[in-house]
C-alpha cells in the first residue's frame, strides 16, 4: 500500500480540458478587449473565447458523477471558487456572444470590455480552484495563481497571434504597435511565474511532483519562452514573414500553456500522502522519529 503521495486519478483529461479551454478562452477574451482598445479589430475573437470557455465547462459536465444535478454547482458562492467560476461563466458567456454579435463598435466594445472583466474573474477563479485544492501540493501553492493567470493571458495572446492573419492589417498593427511588446511581456511574465511556481514548490512538494516538473521545465523553457521570443523578434525584423512568424509564436505560446496545465493537473498532481511526526513508544520502549514518505525534506 502506498504511504507516499499518489497521483490523483479522479480528474482526468476532461478536467484538464476545462483549465486549458477555460484559461485560453478567458485569456483570449481579455486580450481581444485589450487589443480592441489599442485599435485592432478583435471583437471576432469574443465568440471563439466564449466557445472555448463553454467547451471547458462542457468537458467538466461530462466528468461529474451526477450531471443532472449540475445546477447545484451554484450553491456555495460564499466559499467555493468552483461555484464562483460557474457564476462568472453565466455572465461571461452571453457577454462574449453579444459582443461578437453586436454590429456597432459602440455596443461591441463595452460588451467586450465587460466580457473581459468577467473573463478575468473567471481566469482568477480557475487559479483559485487549484489553489484551494489543499490535498494536492502542486496545486495549493500561492504561486499557482500568477501561473494560471499569466498562462491564460499568454495563451489568449497566442490565439490572437495565430489567427491575426484573418483580419486585414492586424498582423502589421501588432508588430508596429504595442501588440508584440505585450506578447513578449506575457511570455516573460509567464516564464517568471513558472520559475516562481517551481521555486515555491522546491522543498514543498512530493518528490514525484518535483520530478514531473523537472522534466516539464526544459519543454516550457524552450518552447514556451525561448521559441516565442525568437519568433516575435524575427517577426519584428522581417516584416515579410510576420504572418507565419506571428502564427508560429502564437502556436508555441498556446501549446506551452496547455502543456504546462496538462502536466500540473494530470501528471504532477500527487496527493499529500501520509506522514507521522513520531513513531510510538511501545510499552516500556522509547518513542522514535516520524516519517513523511515521498517527500524530499521533512516538513
Amino acid at each position: 500500500m502506498m504511504l507516499a503521495p499518489t497521483l490523483q486519478k479522479r480528474w482526468d483529461w476532461r478536467a484538464a480540458g476545462n483549465f486549458i479551454c477555460g484559461g485560453s478562452g478567458s485569456g483570449l477574451m481579455i486580450m481581444a478587449a485589450l487589443l480592441t482598445l489599442i485599435g485592432l479589430h478583435a471583437s471576432g475573437y469574443a465568440l471563439l473565447a466564449s466557445a472555448l470557455v463553454a467547451t471547458g465547462l462542457g468537458l467538466v459536465w461530462l466528468e461529474i458523477g451526477r450531471p443532472l444535478r449540475s445546477m447545484n454547482v451554484f450553491r456555495n458562492p460564499r466559499r467555493s471558487w468552483m461555484t464562483r467560476e460557474g457564476l462568472v461563466a453565466t455572465v461571461l458567456l452571453p457577454l462574449g456572444v453579444l459582443a461578437f454579435l453586436s454590429e456597432s463598435t459602440a455596443l461591441s466594445i463595452p460588451l467586450l470590455i465587460m466580457a473581459a472583466v468577467a473573463a478575468a474573474l473567471f481566469l482568477y477563479a480557475q487559479a483559485r480552484i487549484l489553489h484551494m485544492a489543499k490535498g494536492i501540493p502542486a496545486w495549493r501553492t500561492d504561486a499557482i495563481n500568477p501561473l494560471i493567470v499569466s498562462t491564460g493571458l499568454t495563451e489568449g495572446m497566442g490565439i490572437v497571434l495565430i489567427f491575426a492573419g484573418l483580419v486585414q492589417g492586424n498582423v502589421a498593427a501588432l508588430f508596429s504597435g504595442y501588440g508584440w511588446i505585450l506578447a513578449l511581456a506575457l511570455v516573460f511574465l509567464r516564464g517568471a511565474a513558472w520559475i516562481n511556481y517551481r521555486y515555491s514548490l522546491a522543498n514543498n512538494a512530493p518528490e514525484a511532483t518535483l520530478q514531473v516538473l523537472d522534466r516539464a521545465h526544459s519543454v516550457i523553457a524552450l518552447l514556451g519562452v525561448a521559441a516565442p521570443i525568437v519568433l516575435l523578434f524575427l517577426g519584428k525584423s522581417y516584416p515579410a514573414y510576420q504572418l507565419p512568424l506571428a502564427a508560429a509564436a502564437g502556436f508555441f505560446m498556446v501549446l506551452c500553456g496547455w502543456f504546462c496545465k496538462y502536466q500540473i493537473i494530470l501528471h504532477a498532481a500527487y496527493s499529500q500522502g501520509y506522514a507521522i511526526s513520531h513513531t510510538p513508544a511501545r510499552g516500556g520502549g522509547k518513542p522514535g522519529p516520524g516519517l513523511k514518505p515521498g517527500w524530499r525534506l521533512p516538513q
Partner: protein
C-alpha cells in the same frame, strides 16, 4: 430522529472459531433474512476476555455465505484420472447418491476388514490445524468414532509446522500444550519469533495492548520485523535458527554471573535441581525404595527426595552410595562414588555458552544479550508474592515466548528447554506474571489441565509417554505416520496421531524407509477444512500423492487444490448457516485465559444457500446408511458432541434406535449443558441458547497457574535434568536397532539429559547439500515465513474482504527482501522475481523492506493457489512449494520447520 438503533434491529448471536485463537462471540446483523454485518457481542463484554470483540477474520463470514464461488450441491467426479493437470469434471448429484456411495464404501471396508495388509486403517481423515474443524463439524466426531480405527495422521501442516516441540515438551514439563506469558501481570517478555500480535487473536492482542499501556517491555528477537516486533519495545534481528544459542547465553549469564539472585527456594522445592546424578547419567537412587536421592544439608546424608523436613543441597558434589537405574533393565550399584546435583550439572554444562560466543553465532551484539539477561532478572522480582483467589503465590512478572520455526524442528528441544529453564531459574514457571501453560491435548483430562497434575514415582509430573520397553513398545506402527512407534512424547490421546510426525505419512507414500511396513493408501479419505496440497511442504509431491488416493471425500466450500482430486464433494453449511454447541472458556490456546467457562451456540443466521446440509444432518445420515446408527447415538449420549447427555444427576439421552434430526440432537446437548453448568438445577434447551448465544459460569483464576496444585500435591517440575528423556531415548534406540532400523539415529541423539548445543543452521545446509547434490553457497538466502492475522487458519483465501484488508499490511504482497540488499543486487520493489530452492522454484513480486535481515527473505502466509477460485489470481508465492520433506530435517519429536535456503533472480520489470 430514528428510534431504531442504526446497528440493526435483528442481531443473532453466534461464534467464530476459524482459528485456534478463538472463539470470539459475535452478533450477526440480519436484515429481512439476509446477513449483512458481523458485530462484536457487547452483551458478552463482561464475561469474555476480550470484551466481546471480534477478530478481523470473522468479518469475512458474510461474504463466505454469499460467495458466488461456493459449491452448492453434492458433486461427483466423472474423470477417473486424477492430477493437477486433469479436469475432475465434477457433476452435481443428489445427496442420496452421494451419501449412499460413501456408505457403500464404508460398509465394504467394514465387511472386508478395517485395516489393510500393512496393518494401517483403511479409512483416513484429515482436518485443519488446531482442532478448529471440530467446532464446525457438528456430530461428525460421533460418526467417526463408530468407524475406528481411523488414520488421522495425514497432516496438513499440523504436527510438523506447528509449535511442535513446544506442544510435546510443554506438556511434559508443565502441562502446556501452548505456552504463554501471564500477560496481564507480566512486565518483561522476551519473545523469540512469537508473532503474538498476528497469532494471538482478539485475546492476545487485547491483553498485550493493555500490557503495553501498563509499560510492559517486550523484546522481539527474530530475523524480520513482524507485527509483533513492530509493537515491541525493541527488535533484535537474529540469524534464523540460532535462537538456542541466544537463550543458552541468557542462562549462562544468570548462572555464572548472577547465581545468587536466582530463586533458590523454587529450584530446591519445585524442580529436580537437587536430585543427584550418578556416573552413567541417571539419578542415584535409594536401593530399597528406588527413589531418587537428594543430599540433605541438615542431616548431611543422602535421603529419598520426598523425605520430610530436609534441606536439599542445590549445588555441590558428594561421595555417596546407591543404585542407578538406566534403560530397560540396566542397573548399577555404586559404593562411595562421586555424584553431582542436577543443578551443579547444569551450571557446569552452561559454562561455555557465553554472550560473546552466542553473539557470534546469532550475529547479535553480545552486549545486547547480556543486557537482556540482566533486565530479565531485574524484572523477575524474585521473592515477591501476590494473592490470587485467596492463595499467596510467587509473583514473577517475566516470561519468554517462542514462535514457529523457533519451537519446532531441530533446535526446538533446546529452545523449549532453555525457555522453561529461564522461567525455572527465577521461579517464574506457572506463577502469576510468569511463563504459564494454556491447555493440555496429550495429557488428560483435556477439560482442566490442573486435574492432569499427577505425581510420578520420581516425584515429577507423571507423563503418558508411549512405551519404549521391550514388552510394550508398538513395534508395528498402527498409523502411517508411526507416531506411537517413533515418538514416545506424543502420547496416545485423540490428538496424538495428528501431532505426527505427519510428514512421514506423506513421505512414505513415495518411498518408505528400510525395515518398515510398505506404506499403503487409505481406501477412503475424509477431508474437511484443510488443504494439504497448499499448506504442507513440497506441495508438488503432496499433490501427486493425493492424486493417487483411490477414494476421497471432501467437505467442500469452494473448489480447492486438495478437493481437485476428490471423488465426492459434499457442501456443508458454512459458519453462519450451521447449528452446533461447543464448550468455551477456561484456559485455551494462545492467550485465551477466561474468568468463565461454559458453552456457546453456533446457529443459522440466514437461510442456507443452495442444497447445502448441516454437518450434523450429514453425520446422522451417514451413520444411518452405514448401519452404525445405534453406535452413533450411543456416542452422542456419551458426550461425543461435547456434553454427556446422561450423568448421575440428569438424563437427556437420545433414543439410540432412531435417527434424530439436527435440532433434536442439539436440544439434548443444550439441556445437558444447562444442567452441567447448574449442577442439574436447570435444563434450558436450544431456544435459550439461540436467544442468548452462550451460557457461562465462573472459572477461578487460580486455575490459570499450576502452582497451587503442584504445591498441594508436592509435585516437582522435571527440570533442568532430563533423566526420563535420556532413558526413553536409549530404549527407543535399542528397539529400533533390534529391528535393524538406523534411519532414526540422528533423532535418537536428541534424547540428551541436558540438550546438546549444535550448529543448527549447518543441519539445514548439510541436509540440503546431501539430498540435492547442491553447493549451499549457491543458495545464499534463508527463507522464513510469517503469520498473517487476516488469513492464518481461516481457510478464507477466497474471501474478497479479507484479501482487500490484508493488503494494507506492507509485507503481504510477495517476497520480502531487505532494501539495502535488494539495491546491492540491482533489484527494486515491485520487480518480478523467481525464488529457487534446491527443491523447486516459484515466482512472485519483490517487496523491499528495511525491517528484515539482509541474509533473510520472508514469504508471508501460505498462498500459491491454482484451483481455489479468486485466490488463484493472487500471484503471491508460498514457501511451501520450496521446502522439502526430509528425514534429516525431522527432529526427534517428529517435527520440522518452515525454513529453506533459496536464491533469487529477477525475471520481470517493476510493476507500475
Amino acid at each position: 430522529m430514528t428510534t431504531e438503533s442504526p446497528t440493526g434491529k435483528t442481531k443473532i448471536p453466534t461464534y467464530c472459531y476459524q482459528c485456534v485463537a478463538g472463539p470470539d462471540l459475535l452478533n450477526v446483523r440480519v436484515e429481512d433474512g439476509i446477513a449483512t454485518e458481523v458485530q462484536p457481542n457487547f452483551d458478552a463484554a463482561a464475561v469474555t476476555p476480550a470484551g466481546g470483540k471480534v477478530c478481523v477474520k470473522a468479518f469475512g463470514l458474510i461474504q463466505k455465505v454469499y460467495n458466488p464461488h461456493r459449491i452448492l450441491t453434492p458433486m461427483k467426479r466423472t474423470n477417473p484420472n486424477k492430477g493437477r493437470d486433469q479436469d475432475p469434471k465434477f457433476v452435481p448429484i443428489s445427496w442420496d447418491e452421494a451419501l449412499d456411495t460413501i456408505a457403500d464404501k464404508v460398509k465394504q471396508i467394514q465387511a472386508e476388514g478395517k485395516t489393510d495388509e500393512a496393518g494401517y486403517p483403511k479409512i483416513a481423515a484429515s482436518f485443519g490445524g488446531g482442532g478448529t474443524p471440530t467446532y464446525y463439524m457438528g456430530t461428525f466426531p460421533a460418526f467417526l468414532s463408530t468407524l475406528t480405527p481411523i488414520d488421522m495422521g495425514f497432516g496438513s501442516g499440523q504436527g510438523v509446522k506447528c509449535y511442535h516441540s513446544e506442544h510435546l515438551y510443554g506438556e511434559l514439563w508443565h502441562r502446556a500444550f501452548i505456552v504463554a506469558p501471564d500477560t496481564p501481570k507480566c512486565d518483561y517478555i522476551i519473545s523469540f519469533g512469537m508473532n503474538i500480535e498476528a497469532s494471538g487473536g482478539v485475546c492476545g492482542v487485547k491483553r498485550h495492548a493493555d500490557a503495553r499501556a501498563r509499560g510492559v517491555k517486550r523484546i522481539q528477537v527474530e530475523p524480520h520485523l513482524s507485527q509483533t516486533g513492530a509493537a515491541s519495545a525493541e527488535w533484535v534481528p537474529i540469524k534464523p535458527k540460532t535462537d538456542p544459542a541466544f537463550m543458552f547465553a541468557l542462562i549462562h549469564v544468570l548462572l555464572h554471573e548472577q547465581r545468587e539472585r536466582l530463586d533458590k527456594v523454587f529450584l530446591r522445592d519445585r524442580t529436580g535441581s537437587p536430585y543427584l546424578v550418578a556416573p552413567n547419567g541417571y539419578y542415584l537412587r535409594d536401593p530399597e525404595t528406588q527413589k531418587p536421592l537428594i543430599y540433605d544439608l541438615k542431616s548431611t546424608q543422602a535421603v529419598p527426595f520426598d523425605t520430610p523436613g530436609t534441606e536439599p543441597a542445590l549445588e555441590g558434589q558428594y561421595i555417596l552410595s546407591g543404585i542407578e537405574l538406566g534403560a530397560d533393565d540396566d542397573r548399577w550399584e555404586h559404593r562411595d562414588i562421586k555424584v553431582t546435583t542436577a543443578f551443579e550439572k547444569l551450571v557446569e554444562y552452561m559454562k561455555p555458552f557465553t554472550p560473546l560466543w552466542a553473539g557470534r553465532v546469532c550475529d547479535v551484539d553480545h552486549k545486547i544479550i547480556r543486557r537482556i539477561a540482566l533486565e530479565y532478572l531485574d524484572h523477575a522480582r524474585v521473592g515477591e508474592t501476590i494473592e490470587v483467589d485467596g492463595r499467596t503465590m510467587p509473583l514473577r512478572p517475566v516470561a519468554v515466548t517462542l514462535g514457529k520455526t523457533v519451537n519446532n524442528g531441530w533446535g526446538g528441544y533446546q529452545c523449549c528447554w532453555a525457555r522453561t529453564m529461564l522461567a525455572v531459574l527465577v521461579g517464574a514457571l506457572e506463577v502469576p506474571g510468569g511463563t504459564i501453560g494454556t491447555t493440555v491435548r496429550i495429557n488428560r483430562p483435556a477439560s482442566d489441565r490442573n486435574d492432569s497434575v499427577k505425581l510420578s514415582e520420581d516425584g515429577f509430573l507423571a507423563y503418558p509417554m508411549n512405551p519404549t520397553d521391550k514388552e510394550n513398545w508398538l513395534a508395528t506402527p498402527d498409523v502411517r505416520n508411526a507416531n506411537r512407534t517413533l515418538v514416545p512424547l506424543v502420547g496416545n490421546s485423540a490428538w496424538s496421531q495428528a501431532l505426527g510426525p505427519t510428514h512421514l505419512a506423506w513421505m512414505q507414500q513415495e518411498k518408505g524407509p528400510e525395515h518398515w511396513p510398505q506404506a499403503t493408501k487409505p481406501a477412503l479419505w475424509f477431508v474437511y477444512r484443510t488443504n494439504p496440497a497448499v499448506s504442507f511442504w513440497d506441495t508438488e509431491q503432496i499433490t501427486r500423492t493425493i492424486a493417487t488416493f483411490p477414494f476421497t471425500v471432501c467437505f467442500a466450500y469452494t473448489r480447492d487444490e486438495t478437493n481437485h482430486m476428490a471423488d465426492i464433494l459434499l457442501p456443508d453449511r458454512t459458519d453462519l448457516e450451521g447449528l452446533q454447541l461447543i464448550r468455551i472458556g477456561g484456559t485455551k490456546f494462545i492467550e485465551q485465559f477466561w474468568d468463565h467457562q461454559g458453552f456457546a451456540l453456533r446457529q443459522p443466521v440466514t437461510e442456507p444457500l443452495g442444497d447445502t446440509r448441516d454437518f450434523t444432518w450429514i453425520s446422522t445420515e451417514l451413520a444411518k446408511r452405514c448401519g452404525v446408527l445405534e453406535k452413533y447415538n450411543k456416542a452422542l449420549n456419551r458426550g461425543a458432541a461435547g456434553v454427556a447427555l446422561k450423568t448421575d444427576y440428569y438424563d437427556f439421552s437420545l433414543d439410540v434406535d432412531q435417527a434424530h434430526d439436527v435440532e433434536t440432537i442439539w436440544e439434548a446437548n443444550c439441556r445437558a449443558a444447562s444442567a452441567e453448568l447448574t449442577g442439574g438445577k436447570e435444563s434450558q434447551g436450544l431456544d435459550y441458547y439461540k436467544e442468548k448465544g452462550y451460557r457461562l459460569t465462573g472459572f477461578p483464576r487460580i486455575k490459570w497457574y499450576l502452582t497451587a496444585k503442584m504445591e498441594d500435591e508436592g509435585v516437582r517440575y522435571e527440570l533442568p535434568y532430563q533423566e526420563t528423556l535420556k532413558r526413553v531415548g536409549v530404549q527407543l534406540g535399542r528397539r529400533l536397532h533390534e529391528r535393524g532400523i538406523s534411519w532414526w539415529d540422528e533423532q535418537l541423539e536428541e534424547y540428551a539429559a541436558l540438550p546438546e548445543m549444535m550448529d543448527f543452521q549447518a543441519i539445514w545446509e548439510g541436509a540440503l547439500e546431501r539430498n540435492f547434490g547442491i553447493n549451499i553457497s549457491d543458495y545464499p538466502f534463508w527463507l522464513v515465513t510469517s503469520r498473517s492475522m487476516q488469513y492464518a487458519w481461516g481457510g478464507n483465501v477466497s474471501i474478497q474482504l479479507i484479501r482487500e484488508v490484508s493488503k494494507n499490511i506492507g509485507t503481504h504482497g510477495g517476497l520480502v527482501m531487505n532494501t539495502g540488499q535488494a539495491h546491492k543486487l540491482g533489484l527494486k520493489d515491485g520487480d518480478r522475481v523467481e525464488i529457487t530452492s534446491p527443491l523447486s522454484a516459484t515466482r512472485g513480486i519483490l517487496v523491499t523492506r528495511e525491517g528484515i535481515r539482509p541474509d533473510t527473505l520472508m514469504l508471508m502466509g501460505q498462498f500459491d493457489h491454482w484451483a481455489t477460485p479468486f485466490a488463484k489470481e493472487f500471484d503471491v508465492p508460498s514457501m511451501n512449494a520450496l521446502v522439502p520433506m526430509l528425514l534429516d530435517l525431522t527432529d526427534s519429536s517428529g517435527s520440522g520447520a518452515d525454513l529453506a535456503r533459496v536464491k533469487v533472480k529477477k525475471i520481470g520489470e517493476t510493476r507500475k
